[in-house]
């Protein structure tokens, strides 16, 4: 009994320490990038020694993977919560929720970049997280199409187009290349408008793509 409790406490302490280190790593990685970040910086930020880092993770690389995994998990949770009866709301949710803070955008870009250099990051970030979002979006689009509230456009393409746009905006924001004269909310509405009036069922019969 007492032993179980002890083990429990110990495990919780270990988990807490791991989280503390991962949080520090996420901060440093997102700011500096993986290669430029040093284990010394991460240790300082986590307020532990470099040696301790290696008691919880086998290598700097595993730290990155840990951050990616945590990010993917968090994403999964959020996606599960997204309500999307309404398309506009779904898009707004995706845009707003995803890249609200600079840190989130920077992490996004970090993984985008590191995916190409680290197969584990690719696994957790691209396969698990990104595809999950895309597939979820796809399902909702299929639902809306079935409901007759959206034109019968290929849902695979539609979902990817939406995702691409959201990702692109994250990058534009991060590079300081976005729209400054509009509020994020207004921007969300406008983008939704652009998409909607092409994605949903058209009344106007003549509304065909011809430019």
């Amino acid at each position: 009994m007492a032993e179980l409790q002890l083990n429990d406490r110990r495990e919780r302490r270990i988990a807490a320490r791991k989280a503390q280190i991962l949080d520090a790593a996420a901060q440093v990685f997102s700011r500096q990038g993986y290669e430029r970040a040093t284990t010394r910086e991460i240790a300082d930020m986590a307020d532990v020694s470099e040696g301790t880092l290696y008691n919880y993770f086998n290598s700097k690389r595993e730290l990155l993977i840990g951050v990616a995994k945590a990010y993917a998990d968090q994403l999964a949770e959020e996606i599960a919560r997204v309500e999307a009866e309404d398309f506009g709301e779904m898009l707004a949710n995706l845009m707003a929720n995803r890249f609200r803070t600079g840190r989130e955008r920077r992490l996004f870009m970090l993984f985008l970049y590191e995916s190409r250099h680290n197969v584990d990051v690719h696994q957790y970030y691209v396969q698990d997280a990104m595809h999950r979002i895309i597939n979820e979006t796809e399902k909702r689009i299929i639902f809306l199409i079935e409901q007759g509230r959206m034109r019968p456009i290929d849902p695979v393409v539609a979902a990817r187009t939406l995702s691409a746009t959201i990702m692109g905006f994250a990058a534009l924001f991060e590079l300081g290349a976005s729209v400054e004269h509009t509020s994020p909310e207004k921007l969300g509405e406008q983008v939704t408008d652009i998409f909607l009036n092409g994605l949903r069922t058209q009344d106007g019969a003549g509304a065909r793509a011809r430019g």
Copy 2:
């Protein structure tokens, strides 16, 4: 006379060598990223010694800037050539021309990432190249609106939405997360369709965004 020819030849040789080195650098950087790339790899790829690298560029960093500059210049040329009487054509051009090859997409992602860490890359890539594309797109959208062939949507927003989408698709492609069951041409058409039927003037009066 003979001297002039000599100087001419010399200058051409220097320019050629510089281009040869930049090309090697672009390849290595695009594959490995800036930090992971080594000057030895670049030298090997360029088939010169490491010392020679430094006869033409003062540092590894300047090599990256050189690649960014060349990329931005090439982009500027291509943009100038884009014909865009027709919106669909313009979008197809932007999508197809930009990220045709893997190398181009990788360079794009390299600069996207390095912009955050190198003020010169940000200058050449984000300020010069990216903003140039966005502004050009904006002008064309304004033109189409004036012609009555497009809904009067804020051109700033519209241009950025298009750019974000294109950038996002580049990333999706590069991560192997795109649509495999569709040909690039078909994909281009579909994306154009999605955008068009929201950006152009709507006949159907009732077609408002409500989800």
Copy 3:
């Protein structure tokens, strides 16, 4: 308590290691000169790895500055100890104490040379150490003049002449260009004799400088 002891021991270990490295650096620098010395040699001489060097000093340059600082400190201590009631003793002290060993003479020449190339060395060596010696000498000469035991010669000039002679002898020794047929003690006496019979009050009224 135990912690304090631990910190104490740690600090002493660090100080010892630093001293060990500085000593090695002093040896290598004094033998090879700053530019010719390599960090590898210094590390080998200190019996540590090159990396360890950089745990204690930020650069090769700071290693040199460290040596200069230590040298200046040591000099200051010695100067404070020089007894100079008697002029002959003072001169003998200055000559003998300063450049007794080859290593000290070589360090002296190293700093003499490096002062022109390194502003910090100039600071520590010329400003702190050398000027301190000269000023101290000046004070003692003034004292002897006041006591009527020395001719009223400009103490600024006299102190610098003495210093110049001592420095010059150090160089002559180091270059193997000095007097081999005389013992150091005998030499000291003779030089003192030369100086004395010009610096102290002259009884012989006719003894004026004319050659």
Copy 4:
């Protein structure tokens, strides 16, 4: 005939080019020191290419030796010219003539330093030049002693003491540690005074070294 003239012209051209390069080398070496000087700098200063340097000298090291040789030769000439009937004049000549310009002082310090690292420089500078000066001084002191115008002090010691002082002053000047409130002429007189009233025969019988 014509051929001889041609050879003559050719040889003179070569000598001139060599001198031009040596002069540049002297400037750069005296400013930067041997190790810090680059062949590129020397070539630029001499207004020739780096390749040309190697047509006239086999290595950077030989450039230094060449400069040392030229310096020693120049010194020999000057020494031959020094008139020294009068001791004061001799000393003044030695002090003033030798280290008039900053460049000469810097060269002096360069050779002082490099003698320890380069056996050829040691040969030309220490053996040839410095010992020549010292020996010449010795001879003149012997002469003055024989004339009864100087006390019978060991001429070996006396000559070295004078040389040491002069060298020391050169260093003090170069380090900006000398006397600013006195003109060079006045300084020379004062130093002469100090030396004289110890080196020449003393009338005052009681004037013995006792401190």
